[in-house]
């Protein structure tokens, strides 16, 4: 199946590390465009290709070695000042980098990389030869980097003095002899590389994306995909692992202590001293376990910079395609986030950047007219706020026009004229998240990927996150993504239907309020409630689940989904809990995201509200009468 049998570990290591390296190279290339003479940059890029080449050699990936070798040679000449960076050579270099990325894609699928485009190889060779006519250091064909015959190199068996001199002479001739150059391979006439890349290609090339990576394929709320093909490994700082080990050791000791105490207590000892010791041991265990949970969670955390670093290049290429000058500024790259989320955030952030470059940033002439600097600054920032991660994508463009958004939504038939008139600014901005909404008057190259902002929002929600928009006319728009620190632990609200508890994600809960009969109104045969001026439909949990209603619900939970706010009518509630989600892989009833175990050992279903609401008839609402208790029955309390 794979060309790398027996080398899977090595391959995985290589891909992870070389992938990071290549992203770094990409960013340095963006910098290099701005300061083409920076020796340090040239050196770093040279070393990047050099290192990738070295690793590729061990994987026997000859084509990758060839490509890296040529690119490296070009940078060798650039860094030595023998050549200088030109627009043409830059295009060739970028194309070569993309080709390397392509080859990584092959490697990820377990196939030997295909040969790079001949035109590209020829362009590289031409560029190396380039302006400098002297062929003194003719580029050797990359095959030369294959291991020279071991015997030839190592073979100098005659005994000499310990002095290295003679050995080295021999060695040198052996090596150079084995590598008799065939510089004739270099062609003089070089077809230029096609520099115009469609945005789709830009993004795919920059990400090394495979066809199977589509946005919106990850699992529903709170569920982790069983296995993803790619990169199931994780790099963890050994200090963090040591901490986990330490804590589990201490927990072991505390467990022993508890065992001893149990023996004592079972044999009748229940004096204050013993009970006090028990109390102490249990508290200690409590502390240790929560420390351990934290420590284990930390092993899953990765700096978001690993994700961020591939974006400056994408932003640059997209902007260049549209004739705009955009610089993506990164901040908060050290912010740590759950590794699985990093992967799932990749597409939404790309789309937001693409959206900002395409729609947010004005054309050069508009910017000049508005008296703004011609280069626009796009900010991608991450930071931790409490137990949340906040990611900002901010542009300094024209900002969003609530009026235009409303008109657009009405024209597209997404909302009625009437609905539009009731929307405030924030709600108007959120219209862009509606499926089928596209702000571009004509579908441009950049935004025509068939993926809209609605998918961005859906994907963020799958991570139990939320996205909102802030905008200042003329100053720019900011997309704010709010994410939980991890998917492994989900804060939930426990609600009850009769005696049966259910858990709903706390992130959707706005508030809890008693349902007073006199606050319930009837609008078109459906029960509604006015909360601080907002008219909200009341949906009963029993109705959503399709259960018969056995008692009149006493409480309402004001839930906010992205599409709607509503009052979920429940019988009672039991407080909040941090649920550790166990997914029901093979057997998953509709509307159930998973299960969790309560402190008393009871198993509770975690509801997937989105799925429940998707059941058409469930959202029809219920008549007011269902919420009015029969005579004499008290509701509150």
């Amino acid at each position: 199946m794979t060309d790398f049998a027996g080398m899977e570990d090595l391959l995985q290591d290589f891909l992870t590390e070389a992938g990071d390296l290549l992203s770094g190279v990409d960013n340095k290339l963006v910098d290099l465009e701005r300061s083409p003479d920076d020796r340090g940059l040239l050196n770093d890029i040279f070393r990047g290709f050099h290192t990738i080449k070295g690793g590729a050699g061990f994987l026997n990936a000859g084509e990758l070695v060839t490509l890296c070798h040529l690119t490296e040679n070009l940078f060798d000449r650039l860094r030595n000042g023998e050549l200088s960076v030109t627009a043409e050579s830059m295009d060739i270099i970028l194309a070569a980098t993309a080709a390397v990325r392509d080859m990584f894609g092959d490697l990820e699928r377990g196939v030997m990389p295909h040969a790079a485009d001949e035109a590209l190889i020829a362009s590289l060779q031409g560029a190396i030869q380039g302006a400098a006519p002297l062929l003194a250091a003719a580029p050797r064909p990359a095959a030369a980097t294959a291991a020279p015959p071991a015997g030839a190199v190592a073979g100098s068996p005659q005994p000499t003095s310990a002095g290295a001199g003679p050995d080295w002479q021999l060695l040198m001739s052996a090596v150079t002899g084995a590598l008799a150059p065939s510089s004739a391979a270099v062609q003089a006439v070089v077809p230029p590389v096609e520099p115009e890349l469609a945005p789709e290609k830009i993004i795919n090339a920059a990400l090394g994306r495979r066809a199977t990576d589509r946005p919106g394929v990850s699992g529903p709320t709170g569920r982790r995909e069983p296995e993803r093909v790619r990169d199931n490994s994780i790099r963890v700082d050994t200090a963090r692992l040591d901490q986990v080990l330490n804590l589990s050791g201490e927990i072991g000791l505390t467990k022993n202590r508890l065992n001893a105490l149990r023996r004592d207590i079972l044999s009748g000892r229940n004096d204050t001293e013993t009970l006090h010791a028990l109390d102490l041991a249990v508290s200690q265990l409590d502390l240790l376990v929560s420390d351990l949970q934290n420590a284990v969670m930390k092993t899953r955390m990765q700096p978001i910079g690993r994700l961020f670093q591939k974006y400056p290049r994408i932003a640059r290429d997209l902007a260049r395609n549209l004739g705009k000058d955009v610089e993506l500024v990164l901040a908060g790259e050290d912010t740590e986030i759950d590794k699985t989320m990093i992967e799932d955030l990749s597409d939404p952030i790309i789309h937001l950047i693409r959206n900002a470059v395409d729609h947010g940033v004005e054309s050069a002439s508009d910017r000049a007219a508005a008296g703004k600097p011609s280069k626009s600054e796009l900010r991608l920032e991450a930071r931790q706020e409490g137990d949340h991660i906040v990611i900002l994508v901010a542009d300094d463009g024209r900002g969003m026009d609530a009026e235009r958004l409303r008109a657009k939504a009405v024209a597209k038939g997404l909302i009625s004229e009437e609905e539009a008139s009731t929307l405030d600014e924030r709600q108007s901005y959120n219209l862009v998240f509606l499926p089928g909404f596209s702000m571009a008057e004509k579908v441009s190259d950049v935004s025509g990927r068939g993926v809209g902002m609605d998918v961005v929002r859906t994907n963020i929600q799958k991570l139990n996150g939320a996205i909102e928009i802030r905008s200042q006319p003329g100053k720019g728009a900011t997309f704010v993504i709010n994410l939980p620190l991890t998917l492994a632990i989900l804060p939930v609200l426990l609600v009850r239907l009769g005696a049966q508890p259910f858990a709903v994600p706390l992130s959707m809960v706005r508030e809890i309020l008693p349902i007073e009969p006199n606050m319930v109104h009837d609008v078109g045969g459906r029960a509604t409630m006015v909360v601080r001026g907002e008219v909200l439909p009341i949906l009963t949990l029993s109705g959503l689940l399709g259960w018969p209603q056995e008692q009149v619900p006493g409480y309402g939970v004001l839930m906010q989904t992205t599409d709607m706010a509503f009052v979920l009518a429940i019988d009672s509630f039991a407080g909040r809990e941090d649920a550790v989600i166990k997914s029901l892989d093979d057997f998953r009833p509709k509307g159930v995201a998973g299960v969790t175990t309560l402190s008393n050992g009871q198993i509770v279903l975690i509801l997937d509200m989105k799925e429940l609401l998707a059941e058409g008839n469930a959202t029809q609402g219920i008549p007011r009468s269902a919420l009015i208790p029969a005579q004499g029955e008290a509701v509150s309390g």
């Binding site: 090595l10 290591d13 290589f14 590390e17 070389a18 390296l21 770093d44 070393r47 050099h50 290192t51 080449k53 070295g54 690793g55 050699g57 061990f58 026997n60 030369a144 980097t145 294959a146 291991a147 020279p148 071991a150 190199v153 190592a154 005994p159 003095s161 310990a162 290295a164 001199g165 050995d167 080295w168 060695l171 040198m172 090596v175 150079t176 084995a178 590598l179």
Partner: protein
């Protein structure tokens, strides 16, 4: 034959490469291996604990392999330490530069355990001779 107690220091900025070298060494029976990600870190490690053998990449940030080699040769307590240079280059200038700086051996990527064994053997042989002389 391989002395399993020999303590190796593998220096490379690319952790995949360090792992490759470490695995090859293990294949040859050398399990006592430590790693450093550049010349500067390598020197720290050399100063902190005794090593018997250094295997180093050439091209690294902070301090490259050649500078590491030169520093080792200049430092009295390290100067007899065998240093095997690993690089992707088989360039004449590089080999001469390494030789002049006192490299004990030079190996070109990619290589097999057999090639590595051969190089090591040769270096040990040379050391044995110089020790006897």
């Amino acid at each position: 034959m391989a002395d399993p107690k020999l303590r190796f220091l593998v220096v490379d900025d690319f952790s995949t490469m360090r792992r490759i070298v470490r695995n090859l060494l293990k294949e040859l029976g050398y399990a006592n291996v430590d790693e450093a990600e550049d010349g500067a870190v390598a020197l720290q490690k050399l100063n902190a604990a005794p090593f018997d053998f250094v295997v180093t990449d050439w091209n690294m940030p902070n301090m490259d392999g050649l500078t590491l080699l030169q520093t080792i040769r200049r430092t009295p307590q390290f100067k007899h330490l065998p240093v095997l240079m690993i690089t992707a280059e088989a360039k004449k200038e590089n080999i001469i530069a390494a030789a002049q700086s006192g490299a004990s051996g030079y190996i070109v990527k990619p290589f097999t355990a057999a090639t590595l064994a051969e190089k090591l053997e040769k270096i040990f042989e040379k050391m044995g001779r110089s020790g006897a002389a």
